[in-house]
């Protein structure tokens, strides 16, 4: 979608230029500067902000997978939270029961989640339309029931524990150190997906989204690419979940119901369907929104608005309503999400004062 926003007069004369990751030198420098800035963040920020950044990173990776499915391939998953949780439990299981170090357990649980995703995705991915949405809804309920039941795997009603992340015999402790693990995974994941979109496979996914019939006539195997896309989505959900497990060190299935899956959808929609960087913006938005509402309600505490609405006791519900309302508002008024808004702002300054 982003490519359709290239302003007039910006000509590209070769395929190499058209498929480059960074359209300009400045944008590449900005991206590198962003990563460096993030790497320096632990020296400047306190624990609270580090935990926010880690949450954005972890959920951002999972949301990125969902964006590959939703934004690039045009399929819905309403069970993303269950796959995220499966990755978390798998990594916890591998690290505690099988004594596999977290360093290897995280990618392994990504693969395991992709496989379990295919169990649910295969029957639906070969059908067009909304069947994947319904199958993943079933997956959400079946997997959560499984976690509540399988004591050998997830501990049942007792939360499962995970080993802390260690590398070369050095065990990381605290948010400030774990942040670097998340940062590395975020950078690698986002580079992987950006590069995926420059390959034949990535273009095939977009073709499947835009016009599946034309795509099939051009020789794209629809079943293969829909399944592949679903596998990628589940893989990143698993990676995100595994990072979550080694961050929290305790994994419980509570709080990962369908509302959490809706949150993942919200991240992708708010960020921008089919925008890699937008995913990160959307995730930041969704992670920081409850915090912002918390500050707001703290600021209003004791006032007239607080008294009439009973904000203090009902903040969770207000938050849920806000999330839902924001999803609807974005879908109705800004279907391309924050990424689109960002492009417009950039275009405005690029052509200032002659914006067209």
């Amino acid at each position: 979608m982003a490519s359709s926003l290239i302003p007039a007069g910006d000509f590209r004369t070769s395929y190499a230029v058209d498929t480059t990751i960074f359209p300009t030198v400045t944008s590449r420098n900005f991206a590198i500067a962003g990563v460096v800035l993030c790497a320096l963040a632990p020296f400047a920020l306190n624990d609270y902000w580090m935990s926010m950044l880690i949450a954005i990173g972890i959920y951002g990776i999972a949301a990125l997978g969902l964006n590959v499915l939703l934004g690039f391939t045009g399929q819905i998953s309403i069970g993303h939270a269950a796959f995220f949780l499966f990755g978390a439990f798998t990594s916890a299981y591998l690290s505690t029961k099988m004594a596999i170090p977290a360093f290897f357990a995280i990618p392994l649980s990504g693969v395991a989640t992709a496989l379990i995703g295919l169990v649910f995705g295969l029957p639906a991915a070969r059908l067009k339309g909304l069947y994947l949405a319904i199958a993943t809804l079933a997956a959400q309920y079946i997997l959560l029931d499984f976690f509540a039941r399988a004591e050998w795997f997830s501990g049942g009603s007792v939360p499962a524990t995970a080993e802390p992340f260690s590398i070369f015999g050095y065990t990381l402790s605290g948010d400030h150190q774990y942040f670097y693990v998340v940062l590395v995974y975020v950078v690698v994941s986002f580079l992987l997906v950006t590069n995926l979109m420059r390959t034949r496979d990535g273009r095939a996914l977009i073709a499947v989204r835009d016009h599946y019939l034309s795509a099939e006539i051009m020789g794209i195997n629809l079943t293969y690419y829909r399944t592949l896309s679903f596998g990628i989505a589940a893989f990143f959900a698993g990676i995100g979940g595994a990072l979550y497990a080694h961050y929290q060190l305790v994994v419980s299935y509570e709080g990962f119901g369908i509302e959490r899956s809706v949150l993942f959808l919200a991240m992708v929609i708010i960020g921008g369907l089919g925008s890699v960087m937008g995913t990160l913006m959307g995730t930041a938005f969704v992670v920081l929104l409850p915090e912002a509402m918390e500050w707001l309600s703290a600021a209003l505490r004791g006032g007239v608005i607080d008294q009439t609405l009973g904000l203090k006791n009902n903040i969770t519900f207000v938050r849920e309503i806000a999330i839902g309302a924001i999803i609807i508002a974005f879908l109705v008024f800004e279907p391309d999400g924050l990424a689109h808004r960002w492009h417009q702002i950039k275009a405005y300054w690029k052509f200032y004062p002659f914006s067209h």
């Binding site: 939703l70 045009g74 399929q75 819905i76 309403i78 649910f120 029957p123 639906a124 070969r126 059908l127 067009k128 339309g129 909304l130 069947y131 949405a133 319904i134 199958a135 809804l137 079933a138 997956a139 309920y141 079946i142 029931d145 509540a148 039941r149 599946y212 099939e216 629809l222 079943t223 829909r226 509302e259 809706v262 959808l265 919200a266 929609i269 009902n314 969770t316 519900f317 207000v318 938050r319 849920e320 309503i321 999330i323 839902g324 309302a325 999803i327 609807i328 879908l331 109705v332 279907p335």
Partner: protein
């Protein structure tokens, strides 16, 4: 083997299944007329049940008045939802429309919790006697009432689509929107009407469930159970939806029986329909009565 328990559970299954059938029917109604997969169907039940509860408890309205008021309210509510949320989405990709309904269900769910609290509330007694004896089985009166209301709604719906002018207009729109429009049918009002009728029927089902189990946010699970039922019956078949609902209801209770007597896994009751859903998608994705033009790709 405990035959008595089995029969009791199967009767339960029939009653609950018929309710699933009614909700599935109103789900298919929206799907057929507007091509929208409504993930907020369960919340329509919830809103209807809470409104009726509030009328009866908070405002002391008798049941025979509260019920029609609830139905009128939900009729208007359905039109409102269609006007405000669904009409701007006409022509948008199907996934965006689905996500609007998903978000809508989140909003309604949270709003109901905000207004009415999280605790389940008992529904006021509608019938005096507790249970009647049918063929040696003790069956609660509310169950009998629930079955009668469900069958009446299904029959009413069948009449509506077979004989009434609006019903025929809806079927024509579902068949082909452009042709329907050229014949003088207002597609917009058909869309609004389908949401209104669906919301009203769901609300009646919601009140019936509430009369049996009390009102709580757990009611919205009926909207989720719609998916196994409609996939089983065929996504675009109203008769199939009813039958699918009954089968799912019976199957749930049968699963509970097997679970309670032999397996002792616990909770099989709740997930069994979803296993059925996955199996149906594997072997017969267009369901028992659905149109077979789903392209296999």
């Amino acid at each position: 083997m405990n035959t008595q328990l089995l029969i009791q559970l199967l009767v339960n299954g029939l009653v609950v299944g018929t309710l699933y059938g009614v909700v599935a029917m109103s789900f298919v109604l929206i799907y057929k007329a507007t091509q929208v997969v409504n993930f907020a169907q369960g919340e329509l039940l919830l809103v209807g049940a809470w409104v009726c509860w509030a009328l009866m408890i908070k405002y002391q309205v008798p049941f025979y008045l509260a019920m029609p008021i609830t139905m009128v309210f939900m009729f208007a509510f359905g039109i409102l939802v269609q006007l405000v949320f669904m009409r701007p989405m006409i022509g948008e990709p199907i996934i965006s429309v689905i996500m609007v309904t998903v978000a809508l269900s989140t909003v309604l769910q949270a709003a109901m919790k905000w207004i009415f609290g999280v605790n389940p509330q008992p529904f006021p007694q509608v019938f005096a006697s507790q249970s009647v004896s049918v063929l040696g089985l003790q069956i609660q009166t509310v169950y009998v009432m629930s079955l009668i209301v469900s069958v009446a709604m299904i029959a009413g719906m069948a009449w509506f689509f077979q004989s009434s002018k609006h019903g025929l207009a809806m079927r024509a729109t579902a068949f082909n929107q452009q042709v329907a429009q050229s014949l003088g049918i207002s597609v917009k009002s058909v869309f609004a009407m389908s949401w209104a009728i669906s919301a009203t029927v769901s609300a009646v089902a919601g009140v019936v469930v509430a009369a049996v189990n009390g009102v709580s946010s757990g009611l919205s699970i009926y909207g989720i159970k719609v998916f196994p039922a409609t996939i089983l019956g065929g996504l675009d078949s109203i008769g199939g939806a009813v039958l699918g609902g009954i089968i799912i209801g019976l199957l749930e209770n049968f699963a509970q029986f097997i679970d309670g007597e032999y397996l002792h896994w616990g909770n099989l009751y709740e997930v069994a329909p979803f296993y059925v859903l996955i199996i149906i998608l594997m072997i017969k994705p267009y369901g028992l009565f659905g149109t077979k033009d789903i392209e296999r790709i």
